[in-house]
Amino acid sequence: MNEKEIIARRVAQELKSGTLVNLGIGLPTMVASYLPVGLDVSFQSENGIIGMSALPDPGLAGGNLTDAGGTPAGALPGASAFDSAMSFALVRGGHLDVTVLGGLQVDEEGHLANWMVPGKIVPGMGGAMDLVSGAKRVIVAMTHTAKGEPKILKTCSLPLTSVRRIDLVVTELAVIEPTDEGLVLREIAPGYTVEDVVAATQAELRIPVPPRFMKVDPEELR
């Protein structure tokens, strides 16, 4: 398992039947591949659909059905399509249970930065600001460091996506929950120690004793 697979598998365990979930472009999209069998989750894509399936069936007509990144997608029975105002009314109005987003930085306040690096890349916020403000639960799925530099910081140096505190960070090293008392180290990935996680993290972590370990192998989960 590579690090992205570990992250995607672990995030998948957070999803519950009967919920509406939005998966961001990139790593978060992989989460759909690791859902437990029988889990009844609906996926919303902000370009205007509920009931998206990851891959289009062969021969699916036209190019009128894609995910938010423009990649061709399919639709399950019971899917619905709508315009962008409705799509974000669902996001902002408290109808979206979970959003899974990538991140550039997360800080001790649980603030996320993921839409620009001033002077370098300015991709724009797209739907991220609405998703982080509006979803009932925000899960950040990202690698723990970037080119060796920690991404979980005392304070974000990049412009924030929202002042709302996110609910969970899942990396290839750890599961971290922002709380009123700061960042709590909930789980450590197999093969790593508390010291490994602390070394790769700039922010202060609250560490329960004894530490819990992440279960990412389906065999372990049974």
């Binding site: 902000e46 399509a81 315009d83 974000f88 600001m129 609405d130």
Partner: protein, 219 residues
């Protein structure tokens, strides 16, 4: 009323310097023939209101490639490095708007609302220069309406009167923009007789559509 014309004639109505809303999401649901015709006729100094600038040589990305856009109001340019280069060089001004806010601003423009109060962006750089208004202790940004001179719309079907329906995720900003411009040009995949689209299936009523472009037609 007979509203059908060619893309060439439709685009002739658009002057240099016009403010255009163009439907689509990374190119999906963008009226391709109209975009191609904008490039062919070399309309300049355009203000583009759209979800994004798609990719190089895709959708409204073609307008960026050709250097026709002087200002873009979009939610992201992450899929188009050409836009990013033009922005850094100063060739294009880019106003980034959160996607849900962009949708509401366009909807407000088409609905006669002055604006909406949204929680999105409060306390971030997206709030810079904007009024914050508290309602029952919760802060909201006041986001104002957007309008355009022309809207270029992609639809799945039109009837000859101009009623439109859309297909799946190619709907996106199209119905919102069809309400928010002074002149609305729609490019449907097919045109069907009046009465073929049942009233409950019409998304954009014909009164909003000024001109239909017939695919590949020479009228």
């Amino acid at each position: 009323m007979y509203k059908v014309n060619t893309a060439e004639e439709a685009v002739r109505r658009i002057p240099d310097g016009a403010v255009l809303m163009i439907g689509g999401f990374v190119g999906i649901g963008t009226p391709q023939d109209l975009v191609d015709e904008l490039v062919r006729q070399g309309k300049k100094d355009l203000t583009l209101i759209a979800n994004d600038t798609a990719r190089p040589n895709v959708g409204v990305g073609k307008l960026i490639d050709a250097g026709l856009v002087s200002k873009a109001i979009v939610s992201h340019i992450g899929t188009n490095p050409v836009t990013q280069r033009q922005m850094i060089s100063g060739a294009i001004e880019v106003e980034l708007v959160p996607q849900g806010t962009l949708a509401e601003r366009v909807r407000a423009g088409g609905s006669g609302l002055g604006g909406v109060l949204t929680p999105t962006g409060v306390g971030t750089d997206a709030a810079l220069g904007k009024q914050t208004i508290e309602i029952n202790g919760t802060p909201y940004l006041l986001e104002t309406a957007l309008k355009a001179d022309f809207a270029l719309i992609r639809a799945r079907s039109a009837d000859y009167s101009g009623n439109l329906r859309y297909s799946l995720t190619s709907r996106n900003f199209n119905p919102l923009m069809a309400m928010a411009a002074d002149f609305v040009i729609a490019e449907p995949d097919e045109i069907v007789p009046v009465g073929c689209i049942e009233p409950d299936a019409v998304v954009t009523p014909h009164v909003l559509v000024d001109l239909l472009v017939a695919k590949g037609a020479t009228l």
